[in-house]
Amino acid sequence: MKPNLDMDPAPLLAGAYCILAGAGVAAAWLVEPAGLAANVPAIFGMVFNAALGFVLCGVALIAAEARHLRVTLVLATLVAILAGLTLFEHAAGADLGLTRLFVDPFLDIGAGMAGRMGPSTALAFLLSALALGLRALRGRASRAATSIAFVALLVAVISLFGYVLGLDLADDWTGLLRMSPINAVSFTVLGTALLMTGDAASRRRLPFLAASLAVAAYMALLVIAYVQLSSQETLPDFDFSGQMDARRTLSSLILISGTVYVGLVSYTAWSWARYRRSSASLFDSQNRLSAVIDNAVDGIISIDERGTILSVNPVCEKIFGYTRAEMMGENVRMLMPEPYRSEHDGYLANYARTGEAKVIGVGREVEGRRKDGSVFPLDLAVARVELSDGLIYTGIVRDISERRRLIDALAESRERLAAVIDNAVDGIISIDAAGTITSVNKACERIFGYAAQEMLGENVRMLMPEPYRSEHDGYLSNYARTGEAKIIGVGREVEGRRKDGSVFPLDLSVARIELAGGVMYSGIIRDISERKSQETALLEANAELEEFAYRTSHDLRSPIASSLGLLGISRDMLAAGDRDGLAGTLQRLERNFVRLDKMIQNIIVLTRTKLVPEEDQEINVRATVAAALDAVSQIEGNPRLQVNLAIDPELTFRTKPTKFQVIVGNLVSNAVKYQDPDEECPRIDIEAATRDGVSRLSVEDNGIGVPPDSRQMLFKMFKRLHPDRSFGSGLGLYILRKNAEALGGTARYEPKEKGSRFIVELPEGRRSDGDELDPGG
């Protein structure tokens, strides 16, 4: 039940008026003042019973407002009985003695019987009592009670209008719609109070009620006016001057009234419809809004200018851990950690004074504080809302702990990844679809010699030599068009180009990465220069080894196989007693073994050349050549051979003695071995000199030479070129070349018109050269 404190003053005032007016008139009836009756007889237009009725109604009204509904009901019933009996008297023409029930009326004014209420007064009482009673029964104003009160008020208002318009021709209050002015005023007050009060909606209906009342009153008056006019024509005794004027007045009144009537009806209808619409849509939009707010994903808080929380939605309870009741009416700083907690009042005051907003209208990340004291990041957007009754701020808050955690985790994993990429041994580079470099790691700087800044934003072809440099854009567009990849997804060996222009082999694998913002390619690059050169050296060594194995297996085995055959023949010949044949066969056997021995010695030399470490020494070239010639001529003595030495006797090469001796020995013995037997004057020209840092030894002969087809195989292993001179091991020139290379030099062949020229060039030896130059080691 509502407390009585906030009672509406209007019904109280109306009730008080009824009580005072009724009590005053009742007192006048009891005192019977002759002077008052003579001067103001209108006061006595309210008979004693009516005065009593007003007092009762006034009390009932106040009691209803004070929620003493039982009192209201009892009083309303008494009034209804009084009014009902009076109406009965009028209708039945009977006298129940009501007029003398309380006082003996000393005066009769305007009513059919002294002290009796007019019928309209009684009717108004009956209706008012019914309205009060209904309200008392229902506990609040119902539509029926309001309607009844409306009719009561209408009766009173019609009477008042009658007086105002001067329609009433005499103090005849017995007519159906007549009552004394004082009664009419009192009923107007009472009826208005009844209409206005009872529930919250009634006050809003006032304009409508007033309009309806006016219309109804006019309608009633028009009817009365016509009734009166028509009755006047039939009353011969009713006559007064200016009758025609009065009729004109009444006619024009009817016209004006009709216009006013239509206007008022229209306004009433419009007003009613608008009220219905606005109240319905207001209700709907309120419902919608509160549904939106209550079901919002974000927390929504409104505060007033001082920071007091005016409303929170359910999400706020989840976010902050407080219940709604705990937050309502508190200062919003309860939801903030320090330092905001202490400073927030200052922000508000500062904003109110200067208009400088920290958050309002912008939205930013701030910190919130839960009930359990934990602090968390939240996204806050604040709007300033000016309402008719003041300024409020509405904040939308979103707990972004999870988002923040994800962002932090993302940042950390990015950092980790960046560290991994940056410290990778391989170069990692990414380009966009147009070939522009978007990222490089440190290894790329090392591999290509460019600083990262020099590469970023440039086209990746800068890192390629021709022809890739010119073709790369084509690859990219071709891939984009046809999806035919040259490298993507496979990886292969390509060439790179360093800043200094040098070209090097690299291993490249490229991946195509589709991102939201487009396609990118990431390449992993490994400089394989070293691996490549090692690979090549290894392949060469391997091929040499294979060749060596094959050749030795064959060349070492073939004299043995041949010796076995010769042994069989020797046994035959021994058995047959063919001594001459046996001697020849044994000689062949011996030559076989000599050849085999030589070959093995050669192989040993070759191995030594590769393996034995040696120090550089100053070697006299002429002496070395002379020694080699001596060794050869002991075996292959040829008295006709002429040898010309063009070597300064003082000339020395600084190099490794054994290897150099092998070179010289080979050159000399080849020159001697491959003489042309048919040559008239066979000769060998040997020259040696050091010029421009190169020590050159040249051996030229006019022997049988090398057939053009065989020249490219000259320095290969186990190549013998001369069928009828099969005493070589096939290793001589190979050993020569290997030794020259071991000394950092070269060996080459020049064909002559007749014969051959072999040239060995060695770098001019330096004092501290060790054995590191030896690539065969």
Binding site: Y550, H554, R557, A561, S562, G565, L566, S726
Partner: protein, 125 residues
């Protein structure tokens, strides 16, 4: 078909000697022709076609395989039996040699009368 002539292609003087001796001992009526490398053999084959060829692989100037290639391409008439005689016992050498239709036998040095008997059987069979 009788084996009346054999061409021996080998750069080794000793091997030539062994072959000739062994063939004479096997059948003195067989004529022995000699070539010291592939190109000499091709030159000789342009003049006459022997009943059999004994061919070494490792020879200077033109080795046994080079000879076989050119013999296959440049000649329409081939000796009925070509036998490889080599100190190489590498499987791949053997396979390569046997891929020529006219190469019938593959022997390891030294040549023996058994080898010659196989060749004669191949020729007569």
């Amino acid at each position: 078909m009788a084996m009346n002539s054999i061409l021996v292609v080998d750069d080794e003087e000793n091997d030539q000697f062994i072959c000739e001796y062994t063939i004479r001992k096997f059948d003195p009526t067989i004529e022995v022709l000699k070539a010291y490398d592939g190109s000499e053999a091709l030159a000789l084959l342009r003049k006459t076609t022997p009943d059999a060829i004994i061919l070494d692989i490792n020879m200077p100037v033109m080795n046994g395989f080079e000879f076989l290639d050119r013999y296959a391409v440049e000649f329409t008439v081939h000796a009925p039996v070509v036998a490889m005689l080599t100190s190489s016992h590498l499987g791949q050498d053997r396979e390569r040699a046997m891929s020529y239709y006219f190469v019938k036998n593959y022997f390891e040095k030294p040549l023996t009368s058994e080898h010659l008997a196989v060749m004669r059987a191949t020729l007569e069979g």
